[in-house]
């Protein structure tokens, strides 16, 4: 039993930490303020190989593993969550399904550019009518000769409308199973396909420098071979993709919590009240001690889930635990960090204000906290 990271992981973490401190921290506040997608930072992260981390070298990836990738997300989110979620959605939700379920041709066409971060892929599951109940999809795809004809709409899709978005993977109902349940499949829709309308960017509470769009499909036609994986396997596919993605979101949440801790520790030593640094008051010390406890515990939870994933063992429950605990830890920690910063904590120029606004979505995206509890309870046999 050993929770120590090996040297390669440590070196990677150190490199990304330096990169995030030097290249992201000084400029990201302005992107967030302007609600602007940080193309320059994405390009640099692409050069660093962050978008290709868990993919094999033959497709332009870095040949790393899922833990290496999660460690990177943690370091990015420690500085900014918009940047981290842009990588997370591109890798876990966009490129991963192609890597896992794509044909050799599909991988050859898409993965190299995705791995370099020159292009982004989006994953369209959630619909305006509902996200938690993924079996209630309304979007339909019908085969017409050699083409799929897609109709429907998707809501809140990350990376769906950037200048470098190359495709969206759409989950759609493609028929009915013998038992009456819908047959669900996933289909690759390249950007710019006629019939695909990309909506305006949402005005969001947090993740303000990330791209989130509504998508409308109106007799949108793509070739039959754009089917991703087997017909009718869509549901099973995205359950697996979401299970993995939860470990990544947990890592991102740990990064946010750690960032709050870093900022609070510094501020508590600098800020004076009633004749001494506020860090000398037990009320503040206990808040910060609790932050450390939450960040540490959440980190162990996602390390454990990632280790099981790498070992090829079942990890569904552990991923749900990590996602649930880490996201709630992040929200609590961000609230407390803002509290420690007093009025400055409510000012956008302070990172903790951004962390606070960025934290809430962690309890919602890629499965709400309620959904995680449902998964855990179900896994326990209830």
């Amino acid at each position: 039993m050993d929770f120590k990271l090996n040297e390669e992981y440590e070196d990677l973490v150190r490199t990304v930490r330096e990169f995030a401190q030097e290249r992201i921290a000084p400029v990201i506040g302005e992107y967030v303020e302007r609600h602007e997608f940080p193309y320059d930072i994405v390009r640099e992260m692409g050069k660093l190989g962050l978008f290709g981390l868990p993919f094999p070298e033959e497709y332009g990836g870095m040949g790393g593993d899922y833990l290496a990738y999660c460690l990177v997300l943690e370091e990015l989110a420690r500085v900014d969550s918009s940047v981290a979620i842009t990588v997370e959605a591109a890798v876990s939700l966009g490129a991963m399904p192609i890597h896992r379920y794509g044909t050799p041709e599909q991988k050859q066409i898409w993965l190299p550019r995705l791995c370099r971060g020159e292009a982004l892929a989006a994953f369209g599951l959630t619909e305006p009518g509902g996200g938690s109940d993924a079996s209630a999809l309304r979007t339909r795809a019908v085969l017409d000769g050699d083409e799929w004809v897609i109709n429907g709409s998707k809501a809140f899709i990350t990376n769906a409308g950037t200048d470098i978005t190359a495709l969206v993977i759409v989950a759609a109902v493609t028929g009915e199973l013998p038992d009456g349940r819908p047959e669900i499949s996933t289909i690759i829709v390249p950007s710019g396909t006629p019939g695909l309308t990309v909506g305006r960017a949402y005005s969001k509470v947090g993740w303000c420098a990330s791209d989130t769009r509504e998508l409308a499909f109106d007799d949108c036609r793509v070739p039959r071979e754009n089917l991703l994986g087997e017909r009718g396997r869509g549901y099973a596919q995205f359950l697996r993709i979401l299970d993995e993605g939860r470990i990544a979101i947990a890592a991102l949440a740990v990064g946010l919590a750690q960032g709050c801790l870093d900022e609070s520790l510094r501020y508590a030593q600098q800020r004076w009240a009633f004749g001494r640094p506020i860090g000398e008051y037990q009320a503040i010390q206990f808040k910060i001690a609790d932050m450390e406890v939450r960040a540490h515990t959440a980190r162990l939870a996602y390390y454990d889930a990632a280790a099981r994933l790498l070992a090829g063992e079942p990890f569904k429950r552990q991923a749900a635990i990590a996602k649930l605990y880490a996201s709630e830890a992040a929200v609590t920690t961000a609230r407390e960090a803002t509290q420690i910063h007093g009025g400055y904590g409510f000012m956008n120029e302070y990172p903790v204000a951004r962390f606070w606004r960025d934290s809430k979505i962690l309890e919602i995206g890629e499965g709400t906290s309620e959904v995680q509890r449902m998964l855990i309870a179900r896994d326990l046999g209830l």
Binding site: E7, E8, D11, L12, T15, F19, L48, L53, E57, M62
Partner: protein, 260 residues
């Protein structure tokens, strides 16, 4: 073209640094050790030249054994092909002149068209290594480059000076030191981090270089620090109490100190 980049392990300049109380050499044990920042720019310059002209990059360092992780691996992670690490207890305390003798001996064992290094190290800040090596190896030295171009066996360097730059040309082989204005060093990708583990690192002792221990170290150094004392604490500043004339008092102060 073959390029050797000199890199040095230094105490992190972002931290409190000190001299040892016994021999007044840099206290390397107390500090976090890292590669000299400017050397990263030298490596980047070497990699860019090799990307353009083909060839290979070797990193050369003279440093205690622990520099293997803090400096040599870090350097290799950026992309150079191999490293040579001179390690010998006897080197401790060597001045710039004796160090240059060791580095020159090592450079004689390597093939190169160009040697690159940082314009100075953040610990010693002597800035004279290129000149010393140039004397010992009988090749040109150009210091303080902000741009380097190579064509047809010649090197053209924009040499950064206070009020602009000088354009200097030299025949290869040559030794060039660089300032941080020359480029932005790359961050290592995961692939490079993994690859660095497998890159060859040759370790050389003084004996391997045909240098006897009494030619180096503190006792052989041409200069020695006889005494060092910490900087006296700052004196208390002038306090201006604003009783309505604060603005005038401030301007008077700034004028007296010739700030305005």
């Amino acid at each position: 073209m073959k390029i050797v980049v000199l890199v040095k392990q230094v105490p992190d300049s972002g931290e409190e640094r000190s001299l040892r109380s016994d021999d007044f050499t840099v206290d390397r044990d107390a500090a976090t050790k890292r590669m000299n920042e400017l050397d990263e720019h030298a490596i980047e310059a070497a990699l860019q030249l090799v990307e353009e002209h083909g060839g290979e990059v070797t990193v050369l360092t003279m440093a205690p054994a622990d520099a293997l992780e803090s400096t040599v691996r870090k350097a290799l992670q950026m992309g150079p092909d191999r490293a040579v690490h001179i390690v010998d207890e006897a080197i401790h305390g060597s001045c710039a002149v004796t160090s240059s003798a060791v580095l020159a001996a090592a450079l004689r064992t390597l093939e190169w068209d160009l040697v690159l290094c940082g314009a100075e190290s953040t610990d010693g800040r002597v800035q004279a290594m290129p000149h010393m090596l140039s004397e010992r190896l009988d090749v040109a030295a150009v210091t303080g480059a902000r741009k380097i171009t190579v064509s047809g066996g010649e090197i053209t360097v924009e040499r950064q000076v206070d009020d602009g730059y000088e354009l200097v040309q030299a025949a290869l082989p040559a030794i060039v030191s660089v300032w941080d204005t020359i480029n932005t060093p790359r961050y290592p990708s995961f692939k490079l981090i993994m690859a660095a583990k497998k890159k060859p690192v040759t370790t050389l002792s003084l004996a391997d270089l045909g240098i006897s221990p009494d030619q180096v170290g503190l006792s052989a150094s041409t200069s020695q620090v006889l005494h060092a004392a910490p900087r006296p604490p700052r004196e208390a500043g002038v306090k201006v109490i604003d009783d309505g004339s604060g603005g005038v008092a401030l301007v008077d102060f700034l004028a007296a100190e010739k700030f305005v």
